[in-house]
């Protein structure tokens, strides 16, 4: 064993020792309850709860809806978040700090408060509808609350920072002379962006998409409040099973399915990322 090997082994050893407290907390507060929930789902040694969840058309629709909503939210956070991240990363230091402050500001406010704020804004007599009607752009109020649009607006708002921050980082890492070189070689601005900046920031985009998509799958408060009971995602279904029907076995099965699907999505996205040339 060379001295370098020994040093590496010692570093690994102390890294493991340092992570023990955190691991214990995770084990006690996350792994144990999760395992108990999984145990509940197969109570009595039967898989009937899983069978019910995966064969009943109603529950399959909820699972499909959940993925659909997550995909739409991911798409919109990308479309809205990339330009913001790009402008932030390519402007001066002061504007960068201001930008980051504005992006992080919502993090300091409870998601519940922000969701109620959206209810005020999006209601029939809310600020948005009254403004649009006042400007004569619409005749009657738009249905923005208690439906899919409301849920999407709320979720995109909550999840935007998770897209903006990784993309911001990725854009900042792109060497500006590469863009100059592309322009000098005959690429107009937009083509230089398309051929150089965008591909070189794809890792950040993928990281943002993974975060937003997997976080979306487990969303609860926003669909519950802005969907008005008409938009049901898996998390809402689970809550209903536990709180109203006290069906712990079925709730456990749904949780396990949600976890499995989330891991599957995560695995799928990271596979796509790995096959992309660095």
């Amino acid at each position: 064993m060379t001295p370098a090997d020994r040093a590496r082994r010692r570093a690994v050893g102390s890294a493991i020792a340092l992570s023990v407290p955190g691991m214990l907390v995770l084990l006690a507060l996350f792994a144990v309850p999760l395992l108990r929930l999984l145990a509940l789902s197969v109570e009595g040694g039967s898989l009937t709860a899983y069978e019910k969840a995966l064969t009943n058309e109603l529950y399959l629709r909820v699972i499909f809806e959940t993925f659909k909503i997550a995909a739409i939210v991911t798409f919109f956070t990308f479309v809205l978040g990339y330009p913001v991240a790009y402008v932030m990363a390519t402007s001066g230091r002061i504007w960068q700090i201001v930008g980051i402050a504005f992006v992080l500001l919502p993090f300091w406010t409870s998601i519940l408060v922000r969701t109620y704020a959206w209810m005020v804004l999006l209601g029939r007599n809310g600020v948005v509808n009254r403004t649009l009607m006042g400007l004569g752009l619409i005749d009657g109020p738009l249905p923005l609350l208690n439906n899919l649009s409301g849920v999407l607006i709320g979720m995109v708002h909550v999840l935007l920072p998770y897209m903006i921050l990784p993309v911001f980082n990725a854009v900042k890492k792109v060497d500006p002379t590469l863009v100059l070189a592309a322009e000098g070689l005959g690429a107009p601005r937009w083509r230089a962006f398309l051929h150089v900046t965008l591909p070189l920031t794809m890792n950040g985009v993928m990281a943002g998409m993974t975060l937003v998509f997997t976080l979306s799958l487990g969303f609860f408060i926003t669909p519950a409040l802005l969907g008005g009971g008409r938009v049901v995602m898996i998390a809402n279904l689970i809550e209903e099973q536990v709180r109203e029907l006290l069906n712990w076995a079925f709730a456990g099965a749904l949780s396990a399915i949600l976890l499995a699907l989330t891991l599957l999505a995560f695995w799928g996205i990271s596979r796509i990322m790995r096959t992309r040339p660095a």
Binding site: T177, L180, L185, G186, R189, H195, P277, A278
Partner: protein, 351 residues
């Protein structure tokens, strides 16, 4: 000595000025480069040479002045439409594209048909002797190879002008010298008008048809390498290029200058001038036991350079003289050195 078969266009820079806040980067620079010529802009860092190159490439917009290539004013043309090839200091190769894709990029942007792109990329790879490297990534190449890819990418679309921004800075000495010769060979062969930027005077002397010496945002002198070296226009040029003995004094007669400190020397080329001058004598023109313009002093420093000995001699009047010659003289020895009247170059004006 221009290239054999000229394909590049001539460049004219006319009164270009650029300032950043209170800092003047370019103070009204005018310069013309003939078609097929290799011109080096030589200057210390902060002299404005990179800003000038950026203005020519279109990455910086000048506050005043015009830039024309081949007679056409391109001051307001976007970089993408200038048709100028540039090699950046850090090469700026696209890391996510293969070597072949990097070189194909400018052709792709110009809508060149696929089959022709392939043919031209292959020819460019051949030109820089990297035929079998097309499928590699830039990160898999050595510094010298990356540099050759950058060069191939800059010339594959037949640019009117080739700009090189200190491209050899990151290479070790041996590679640097071979790359210099390769660039020069390629430039001559393709007849490319080339503007090369460096702070390395040796590099400038080796490569250039002409050199423009820049300092403080202005061009101090433009001329052939021997002209710049033998007949510098001012103290800055004299001191920036090569080693020099600058002796300050006053013109006393048609062929006599009285140096500060009292010594009197004979020189040529004073004409009917009068007033203060500086005499430039290169260390290799100083001779031990010369017949004219003799100074006696003590050797304060003796350095062996391999091909020559460098001596620093201090006279009783306090004048320090650099002498480069073939005789080994130990430090501390007393020595008489001097120079022939025709070996002193006169720089007029208060220095």
């Amino acid at each position: 000595m221009a290239a054999e078969d000229v394909r590049g266009a001539d460049l004219r820079v006319d009164g270009v000025a650029k300032r950043y806040g209170a800092v003047v980067a370019l103070g009204g620079v005018s310069l013309s480069v003939a078609a097929g010529e290799f011109l080096t802009i030589l200057g210390p860092s902060g002299s404005g040479k990179t800003t000038l190159l950026k203005v020519v490439a279109g990455f910086e917009f000048p506050d005043a002045g015009r830039v024309a290539v081949g007679g056409a004013d391109i001051t307001d043309v976007s970089p993408a439409k200038r048709n100028i090839g540039m090699v950046f200091q850090n090469y700026a190769l696209f890391p996510h594209m293969s070597v072949a894709r990097n070189i194909a990029f400018p052709l792709l942007m110009r809508g060149v048909p696929k089959s022709e792109i392939e043919r031209r990329v292959n020819r460019a790879l051949e030109l820089v002797e990297l035929q079998s490297y097309g499928e590699r990534r830039p990160s898999q190449l050595s510094g010298g190879q990356q540099q050759r890819v950058a060069l191939a990418r800059a010339i594959v679309f037949d640019p009117t002008l080739l700009l090189l921004d200190e491209p050899f800075g990151a290479l070790d000495r041996k590679l640097r010298e071979s790359m210099q010769l390769e660039v020069r060979r390629l430039q001559r062969r393709l007849g490319l008008t080339t503007v090369f930027i460096t702070h390395d005077q040796e590099e400038a002397l080796v490569l250039s048809d002409r050199i423009a010496v820049m300092d403080d945002g202005v061009i101090r002198q433009v001329g052939a390498p021997d002209e710049i070296y033998d007949r510098p226009a001012d103290d800055f040029v004299a001191q920036f290029i090569g080693e020099s003995n600058l002796l300050a004094g006053e013109i006393a007669a048609l062929d006599r200058v009285v140096l500060d400190g009292g010594a009197s020397v004979t020189v040529r080329g004073l004409g009917a001038g009068h007033g203060r001058v500086r005499l430039l004598v290169r260390p290799e023109k100083m001779a031990i036991d010369a017949a004219t313009n003799r100074f006696t002093g003590t050797v304060v420093e003796a350095v062996y350079l391999g091909e020559a000995h460098k001596l620093r001699v201090k006279t009783a009047e306090g004048i320090e003289l650099l002498v480069r010659g073939h005789r080994a003289v130990p430090a501390g020895a007393s020595l008489t050195v001097g120079f022939a009247p025709e070996d002193a170059h006169v720089i007029c004006g208060a220095g």
